[in-house]
Symmetry: C2
Subunit: 315 residues, 2 copies
Amino acid sequence: MEKKKCIGVDIGGTSVKLGLFEKDGTLIFKWEVPTRKEEGGRYILEDVADSIRRVLIEKEIHKDEIVGAGMGVPGPVMPDGYVEVCVNLGWHDLNPQKVLSDLLDGIPVKSGNDANVAALGEMWQGGGMGYTDIVMVTLGTGVGGGVIIDEKIIAGKHGLAGEIGHIHVRDEETEHCNCGGVGCLEQVASATGIAREARRKMKATDTPSALRKFGDDVTAKDVLDEAKNGDDLALEVVETVGRYLGLVLAQLAMTVDPQMFVIGGGVSKAGQFLIDVIDKYYRHYTPISENKAVIGLAKLGNDAGIYGAARLVLD
Amino acid sequence: MEKKKCIGVDIGGTSVKLGLFEKDGTLIFKWEVPTRKEEGGRYILEDVADSIRRVLIEKEIHKDEIVGAGMGVPGPVMPDGYVEVCVNLGWHDLNPQKVLSDLLDGIPVKSGNDANVAALGEMWQGGGMGYTDIVMVTLGTGVGGGVIIDEKIIAGKHGLAGEIGHIHVRDEETEHCNCGGVGCLEQVASATGIAREARRKMKATDTPSALRKFGDDVTAKDVLDEAKNGDDLALEVVETVGRYLGLVLAQLAMTVDPQMFVIGGGVSKAGQFLIDVIDKYYRHYTPISENKAVIGLAKLGNDAGIYGAARLVLD
């Protein structure tokens, strides 16, 4: 029987997202199961395997039709799939791709870090579709990244590849980042970073601003909405965010030189307005050539992980 | 006949370096020919082919023993070997790997940008020997770079990969870099940048310094020599250089996460003294993990290009 379907598994701290795909990238069916984190997360992979088995029966799909299953893990994954520790799931000293493969009667399973896997998904069927070399930047609670070259994830040799949220960009920063650094990109360009930047600007100046009504509860969305409305203080914050993001994209262009930068995560809902600000600074920091990667928006939202995971097993 | 030898060609603006290698990396013979740049560099590849043919006859090596020839080109090379323009050689609209292959009766020829090819050479038989993932940083008249992942060059989709000399690092810079940017790494960390930094510091302060006897003729070597002697002003310059280099290596660790950074070029003759300063700042900017790439010295000097070129045809 010709193998023509694949499964994507995206393991998150609250729920596991799963998707059944045609090899051409068509999503046939997607579903979720809760992430049972008790007892060191020992039930997570059993739940995943049970659920996959049930869906295959339900959909009358024979195991032999399945190329394999890919899996995104919320933490560092070694090249052979080994996970030393995954704090979000309670895993220690585990090779989840081996375990899941055994639980699924030997179906091939491949795994990767979830941010990297999401980047692969966006390359395959999302904002980066049609390209082979992209860097995805996810602007959420934190800032994550994934580097895809020749349709493959650059995972790095110590699980650090794509950790672009922790690139140092700001010398004048005084607070510490979660990573222990001071002045990381994440401290300015994440949703929490943008809100903090707005609070700081409100305190440091008397500039009238529509943001003041939110006080300390101001969110990144408020900042981007009011910036679109032309609010001066909000615009200043967005310029700061765009400048540091543009700077880091310029560094990436002069390191791996992809075809496209794909911007995703909650903050990217601000859309082309935000892209335009990032692009202005990106161009400012790359006068070396006009011929370089373009910047655009991610398209798959929370599904990027299942798409990328499914794509993992198609190599 | 088993093919077990390969040829490396490193085309420079003044001379072409060539090397005949065993597949295991042993250099059998190396030689040079002048680079004839007249008439748009039209004789360069003919000279290379003639010279290779002569050496093979001299050494009594049959063409069938040769796996192929690799070639480093001093400018951007497209993935198919196409060179739009190479100002250093006078080439326009040429596919030199195709031309050289034709001139050598169909021997396979592969090519790449010379900085990237040198990085591959250092990975194969130089400072990065034993590793598969390295980033090389060449501190010479300019600052060049090459990114090697899984034993392959990341060439980029627009010829920009590894152009780390033009990463913006210094907001307070006022002079322009050759690339059109302001505050590029190259403006601080190249031999010319280091000398300029020393001249600036001498003018800006009255600090007594052994460098003052050199006046405006001070060189990067003078700066590094006097820093080793404990000269305060020279040490300040080296700290500045090391800080920006450490910052960029940290960015690279959080982008492609190699096993090793290999530092080469004339400035790297300062040896472990310079590495230690870079390493101090590199660690400062990567608190996220202790488990990360090490920093060491290049070993092949000007031969890195022929080694890397020969390695190109072994995939």
